[in-house]
């Protein structure tokens, strides 16, 4: 069982602290009306970062849902830059540059799961080494895409990892209204693939489970479904008021298992982390997101980009619409 070594755990914690810190800044930016709707990462850091650190970013893909991008730092600074553009509503936010093996956020729940299967299948057809890890939540596991894609992946033995973050809530719907199954991982049985449940508050366990799934996939044994159990510590999104439905006792119990605090405590006890290190990482994280935000705000936006990239080239009708748009803007500027 491959466990992360101390050095890796420090890197994992650093990414978790960065994600938590930047999520706080994003929340404030949203409240100031400077960015659009945000889905906070709070409570999901160990699951996301632990999983990503078990991947080889050179060869393995990560397909996020929408809560994950701040946790994908290991893939490079371009992820945050694109994410800030995305949060501003800039079209370039959907373009994560080559050769980074990350897709932009996916708003349609579960819709990336069949993409992950196709991508993993395509990679194995091309004899490319590597796996695809696709993130989705407990709620998304009720979508048809999950079942269709899980079934197809089982048949094809595609090198894919289905990473279900069970944060107990699908907006306001608790897991017992989402499924009558004991665990989300148990759904793997119907696909003929292994399903494992891990404590998603423990980065080390997550790392281990994803490493095992990765080894399995790489060696041609096919997909694994991992359910990482966490608790959503914040709102579903900036548009949500969880005090309407999250029992406060449950929340305070979950806060005692806060994945970031737990790992800080653990590493501090072993002299692998310090308050000084903590504040250094937090300061750098804030500087970094503020820079990314400024850079995003100063990224030029042309009216043409409304029409660009629908097809590889405009249809006759689109080029007329483009001219109409440009002409009407020209008139407005006169």
């Amino acid at each position: 069982m491959p466990k992360p070594n101390d050095k890796q755990l420090q890197m994992i914690l650093e990414d978790m602290v960065v994600a938590r810190t930047q999520a706080g800044r994003l929340w404030n930016l949203q409240r100031q009306g400077q960015v659009g709707t945000i889905a906070p990462i709070d409570g999901h850091e160990a699951a996301i970062v632990g999983a990503v650190h078990a991947l080889e970013t050179e060869s393995d893909w990560a397909l996020p849902q929408y809560r994950e991008p701040l946790g994908l730092r290991k893939y490079g600074p371009e992820i945050l830059d694109a994410f800030m553009l995305y949060n501003l509503g800039h079209p370039a936010g959907g373009h994560i540059p080559e050769p980074i093996k990350v897709a932009p956020s996916q708003i349609s729940l579960g819709a990336s799961i069949p993409h992950a299967v196709g991508l993993a299948w395509g990679m194995s057809l091309k004899d490319e080494s590597g796996v695809v890890l696709v993130f989705f939540g407990d709620g998304a596991s009720s979508e048809g895409d999950f079942y269709e894609a899980g079934n197809l992946a089982g048949v094809l033995k595609a090198p894919v990892i289905f990473f279900c973050i069970n944060n107990q809530w699908a907006i306001s719907t608790p897991t017992h209204l989402q499924t009558a199954a004991d665990t989300f991982a148990s759904k793997a049985e119907a696909f003929g693939i292994p399903g494992v449940t891990v404590d998603g508050n423990d980065a080390s366990s997550v790392y281990e489970a994803v490493s095992d799934a990765r080894n399995r996939a790489i060696s041609g044994k096919g997909p694994t479904l991992i359910e990482a159990t966490v608790y959503r510590l914040g709102a579903h999104t900036t548009a949500d008021d969880p005090t309407r439905y999250v029992p406060s006792d449950d929340l305070s119990a979950a806060q005692k298992k806060d994945p970031v605090h737990t790992l800080i405590q653990d590493l501090r006890d072993r002299n692998l982390w310090s308050d000084a290190r903590q504040s250094e990482v937090e300061t750098a994280a804030l500087d970094r997101i503020d820079d990314a935000f400024e850079k995003a705000k100063s990224t030029p936006l042309s009216a043409d980009s409304l029409m660009d990239h629908c097809f590889s080239s405009d249809t006759a009708r689109q080029s007329r619409q483009r001219s109409f748009l440009m002409d009407s803007l020209g008139e407005a500027n006169e």
Partner: protein
Amino acid sequence: MSKKVSELSMLQAINETLHSEMARDERIVVLGEDVGRNGGVFRATEGLIEKFGENRVVDTPISEAAIAGSAVGLAMAGLVPVAEIQFLGFSYQAMHQIAGQIARLRYRTQSRFEPQITIRAPFGGGVRTPELHSDSLEAQFANIPGLKIVLPATASDAKGLLTSAIRDPDPVLFLEPLRGYRGIRDLVPDEEHSIPIGEAKLVKKGDDVVIISWSYQVELSKRVAESLEEDGISAAVLDLRSIVPLDIESLTQIVTHCGRAVVVQEAPETAGFASEIIATINDECFWSLEAPVVRVSGFDVPYPVGMLENLYVPDEERIRSAVLRVMEKD
């Protein structure tokens, strides 16, 4: 220069094209229900698995969403998926992947991911199929930006357009008329044959009225136009061949020339693609019209059961009487 041609059914032309394209480009993967060992329920994919192996010709579970959705992933991996939806009526089960994912992939990723994906599906009536096997859904897809929609009416065009569809960097929905699979036969070039997507074809010249159509209804329109010669009516027939992109120029040219037009579709009347054609005529050449444009359509009911089918699907008589109506109006 004379090209060698062979008389083929539309089905043979499609099958031959899949063979030659797969031989040309090893990135092509054919996937769908029963496309491998069975060669497709209509035999459109016959012989592919024997020639190209089961890695490239894949029998999938009965999962339309996973067929369309995994095609996105295959394209992301740099392959060229040619997916079959066994009948277009079942594309509803894949609609969120086709409309919400495939059609938007290029736009939402600013071309980081290129959806070079072809989805083939048979559709259209006249062969007394079970429910949901005959529905003409093309207008529903035409309202989804990012999808090209190609509907050949001849075997030769099926070859030329399927070749272009597979090579097109954008997603193409390639719709094959059930009635045309074996019912349409014509001369098809033996050699490589590609037709640019987005060019309508004037299949019959005429001066008095133009019948505008696509897919199998072109065949019926042609017969009507020929029979009208005896009545002293010179009717042109325009085969759109693709509704997205729409060949606005050819459409405008022939409508302006004739001054009268009939648009024929199998789909229900309300919000069908014929409505779009008429709106386009209004935009482009309204003042050249000598009479209001007339639509020939299915009815605004679900596609009916077999015993009612002949009442629903436009036939030569309905097209003919629409033309006569348009000719009377001065």
